[in-house]
């Protein structure tokens, strides 16, 4: 593949990769013209509303739907007794059990809020009213409320997750300085501002689903398996996604319900998950608990790290929130051991939320490092630099790039870290306690193949088509920048079409891997399109270049010219006309050499071929360092984050303007995690009490100070074709411990369970 010379960050006027081009889908979003899934103008839609269980565990003894069925406008009521005829689908990896029936609704209740019926009516108001008329009798069982419930004894230790090198127990026992502490994080929720839901429509045995999706191909595959359809009969359409953060990467049970209803009623069905149902229709981040032991020499060299972690999962499926994911990567240490345990509770199965694993893992290790710094009487920045890992101690491989030192040094300088006085409670402004804290973060660089289709249209415009999606990360924009750059056209000549599973294959927009995967494919297709245009121009009848004797041509600013620019200069529309071509179409992929066409779909529809961070000879990760100032009111214990400086190494930044927005978004979610966010569970019945945006608090504008974000990365060609590493998730990793460390510095109180609410501070 031809490698493009990666450029350093350009200016706003320039549209090249690396420049600060404004979001290309921006105009649609600011005028109300961006049409999200549930807003598609589908005619004759019926509306579905879910009926939630009101107990936390047990069994549905009877369901009386007669009143609901008799209610005005009602067309269908679905219960666990409805024979739906579905089959279990494969998981993310594509592993699928032998033909096993799938029941999206069940009489067995395993968590409060679990849907046990659905009502479909002419209008949303009629469906909602009738849903309230469904009468359910239960036989209640004992509820395991959370990780710490004494009844939580269904535990499973995950030996395959254990990491071990050296002899950590012996090294810890012999260490001159020891830290041992337990850290906890609560249930947290995605709460994208666009709630979940879908519109399903059948036409014969062809199914169309409009649904916010982080992965059109993967979701189409799972729907096709549930309904036993050929993959090509299912189309998932998702042009705009109102935030996902990990929650929109797979179909959920309610998708099956709506699609089934549409099939029965032979008309389109819309199912809008309500805000409150969004706390139980799919899972948030599992609550976690971890015990960390750090052993160090008196001069602050780490000698051992031991981490034993656990997370809650549901009673019916295993989800791992790996509290040891970042721990082995952060520091130089010769002795390491970790373990992980799953604990079954009565919850919906938790899911991936921005930086799964790495996030709670960093809360542990970055808090513990701060504790160690205070035990040693050493500056927390100095301790981190002293234990800087010059290679990956876990895999033994060299880093492809790790400019974490630069991130720490640049961040410290911008923040003014050297002016910090070390002792807790030593920086005050009247009755306001000031605290400064550091937290570092990392996220592995995942890779997958992708394909892209480029068309040069009769009017000379360039169209790029991909089934990948834009949920705000900026895919539309960076795809256009990449194509424009490689093809030699101004970016406003490029139209990007995204979000349709029938279009070119792409991996999930998750694991921070989409941008690098998709730009690789788009770049390759655009280079091929350019070569094809040039070849045509040199050989095709009617081309004015045929007679010039040139053996190559160039394309600049949308015009085909001779390399020295002394001959004709034609725009694409004129050129196509002259060579009597309607249009030109080029499709390219970055599949491994020799992949059979029949196997290509597996790359887009499953995660089976995702390459992890150590798949090559290098260990490839993004890095970040956060510097936080908090102000704590001594009398009331209220914490305000007053200043943040964060520096990141994410390799080449395709578009700094958009990457900065993503980093800030991650940091702000980290502020929420540190200070506000916590799913509160009713101990009597396992219900999420605060299942709304007035009670589950996410940061508001007034909670957020100006955040300075800095890129210290350099292009890393081990990471991706153009040299970028993942941006979307690393921003949140390390924020919560930085804030907790700042709160310790301000108050002298070490809080080890999130969020840092005032009851814990006072």
């Amino acid at each position: 593949m031809t490698l493009m010379e990666p450029r350093k960050h350009g200016s706003a006027s320039d549209s090249a990769v690396g420049s600060r081009l404004s979001r290309l889908d921006g105009r649609l979003k600011i005028t109300g013209g961006a049409t999200y899934a549930l807003e598609q103008p589908v005619e004759n839609v019926a509306h579905a509303v879910l009926v939630p269980a009101t107990i936390g565990a047990g069994r549905v003894v009877s369901i009386d739907t007669s009143a609901a069925e008799a209610s005005p406008g009602v067309r269908l009521v679905i219960t666990p007794q409805t024979e739906m005829g579905l089959l279990v689908s494969g998981d993310w990896g594509g592993n699928r059990p032998e033909i096993v029936p799938y029941h999206p609704l069940s009489l067995d209740v395993t968590y409060n809020g679990q849907a046990i019926a659905a009502v479909i009516a002419e209008t949303i108001e009629q469906a909602a009213e009738a849903a309230r008329l469904v009468k359910v009798e239960y036989e209640e069982g004992a509820v395991v409320v959370d990780l710490f419930d004494p009844k939580a004894n269904n535990r499973k230790s995950l030996d395959q997750m254990a990491v071990k090198w050296g002899d950590a127990e012996a090294a810890f026992a012999g260490a001159a300085v020891q830290v041992e502490a337990e850290y906890r994080t609560p249930r947290e929720y995605h709460v994208p501002i666009e709630p979940h839901g879908l519109i399903a429509e059948w036409s014969g045995d062809q199914l169309t689903v409009w649904e916010p999706s982080q992965w059109t191909h993967g979701m189409a595959r799972m729907y096709s398996e549930w309904f036993d359809l050929p993959l090509e009969n299912v189309r998932v359409i998702s042009p705009f996604i109102g935030g996902g953060f990990g929650s929109k990467g797979a179909p959920y049970f309610y998708g099956a319900v709506a699609i089934f209803a549409a099939k029965v009623l032979q008309r389109p069905v819309k199912l809008a998950v309500t805000r409150s149902q969004g706390f139980t229709a799919y899972g948030g981040r599992a609550s976690t608990q971890q015990t960390l032991k750090l052993g160090a020499s008196e001069d602050g060299k780490l000698q051992a790290i031991i981490v034993d972690g656990a997370n809650e999962t549901s009673t019916y499926a295993d989800f791992t929130e790996q509290t040891e994911a970042a721990t082995p990567l952060m520091y130089a240490v010769e002795n390491f051991r970790s373990s992980h345990t799953l604990v079954k509770t009565n919850t919906v199965t938790p899911g991936a939320l921005r930086a799964p694993g790495k996030n709670p893992s960093a809360f542990g290790i970055e808090s513990a490092m701060d504790e160690l710094a205070y035990k040693l009487g050493m500056d927390p920045l100095e301790l981190r630099l002293k234990n800087y890992a010059d290679h990956d101690y876990q895999s033994g491989k060299p880093w492809s790039s790790r400019r974490l030192r630069e991130a720490l040094e640049t961040g410290a300088e911008r923040f003014g870290w050297s002016r910090r006085s070390h002792a807790p409670r030593s920086m005050k402004e009247g009755r306001t306690l000031i605290g400064w804290g550091i937290g570092c973060g990392t996220f592995p660089n995942l890779r997958n193949s992708a394909e892209a289709l480029i068309r040069i249209l009769p009017n000379g415009r360039v169209e790029v088509e991909s089934g990948s999606i834009d949920m705000g990360q900026g895919t539309y924009t960076i795809v256009a920048q990449t194509a424009a750059d490689a093809l030699g056209v101004p970016v406003d000549l490029v139209d990007v079409k995204l979000g349709d599973s029938l279009w070119a294959g792409a991996p999930v927009a998750g694991g921070s891997m989409l941008a690098s995967s998709i730009t690789g494919a788009v770049h390759k297709a655009a280079v091929a399109a350019r070569e094809e245009l040039i070849a045509l121009a040199l050989t095709e009848e009617g081309s004015p270049f045929r007679e010039t004797g040139a053996n190559t041509l160039s394309i600049e600013n949308g015009r085909i010219t001779t390399s020295i620019g002394d001959g004709p200069a034609l725009d694409f529309a004129t050129f196509l006309r002259q060579v009597r071509r309607e249009s030109l179409e080029v499709r390219r992929d970055t599949l491994p050499e020799g992949t059979k066409p029949a196997d290509a779909n597996k790359f887009w529809t499953t995660m089976a071929n995702v390459q992890g961070p150590t798949a090559t000879d290098f260990s490839v990760h993004s890095w970040g360092a956060h510097f936080v100032e908090v102000k704590v009111d001594e009398d009331f214990g209220t914490v305000r984050v007053s200043r943040i400086v964060s520096a990141f190494d994410c390799g080449l930044i395709y578009n700094p303007k958009l990457a900065e927005s993503q980093w800030r978004g991650g940091i702000i979610m980290g502020i929420g995690q540190a200070l506000l966010e916590e799913g509160l569970i009713d101990p009597r019945n396992g219900r999420v009490i605060n299942n709304n945006l007035g009670d589950y608090l996410v940061p508001t504008n007034a909670d957020v100070p100006h955040i300075e974000v800095i890129s210290v990365g350099e292009p890393d060609l081990e990471a991706s074709v153009l040299g970028g590493k993942g941006v979307g998730e690393v921003g949140i990793v390390g924020v919560a411990p930085a804030i907790a460390n700042a709160v310790f510095h301000a108050t002298g109180k070490r809080i080890r369970d999130l969020p840092l609410t005032l009851d814990k501070i006072l």
Partner: protein, 157 residues
């Protein structure tokens, strides 16, 4: 409760006749009945601000307003903010320039609130903008850029 009533809503200067149940909210009337989907539903409970529209020039949460209540009033939605020639409102321009959004779902509500915030004279300082824009949640976390955009637009209008 379910017998439809006939309403005439004046939205962005245009009259719209519709027959809806009396319990239909202004938000659902816009989105489900009139296909004016620029106004967003983020919670349907008055907690996120995504559904902000103007009724007689005042910002209201359309999810907490019945469609019938808005009859006879001048309703303005995000679709009516740009000029007839497509010229963007200065707040829209500033949002684009400052990248004051990511997913864009909270954005129509943010922009409506920002226009009102400026008009009400509450865009005097960054602290004041933060306070008066806090009824509009943005989970993508575009707050820094929203403040910058409101500041810039406040100077422009």
């Amino acid at each position: 409760m379910t017998d439809p009533i006939s309403l005439n809503l004046k939205i962005n200067g245009q009259s719209h006749a519709l027959d809806v149940e009396p319990r239909v909210t202004l938000l659902d009337a816009l989105r489900e009945h009139l296909h004016l989907t620029g106004t967003k539903k983020g919670c349907d409970q008055g907690q996120c601000g995504a559904c902000t529209v103007f009724v007689d020039g005042r910002r209201v949460l359309s999810c907490l307003t019945l469609a019938a209540q808005a009859e006879g009033a001048e309703i303005t939605t995000i679709e009516g903010l740009a000029g007839a020639d497509g010229a963007l409102h200065p707040v829209q321009e500033a949002f684009l320039e400052h990248d004051a959004f990511q997913c864009g779902y909270c954005t129509p509500g943010q922009i409506m609130s920002a226009v009102a915030c400026i008009k009400e004279g509450h865009a005097g300082s960054e602290a004041e903008i933060r306070e008066y824009m806090s009824g509009n949640l943005c989970r993508c976390g575009a707050y820094n850029s929203i403040v910058a955009a409101v500041r810039q637009a406040a100077e422009a209008v």
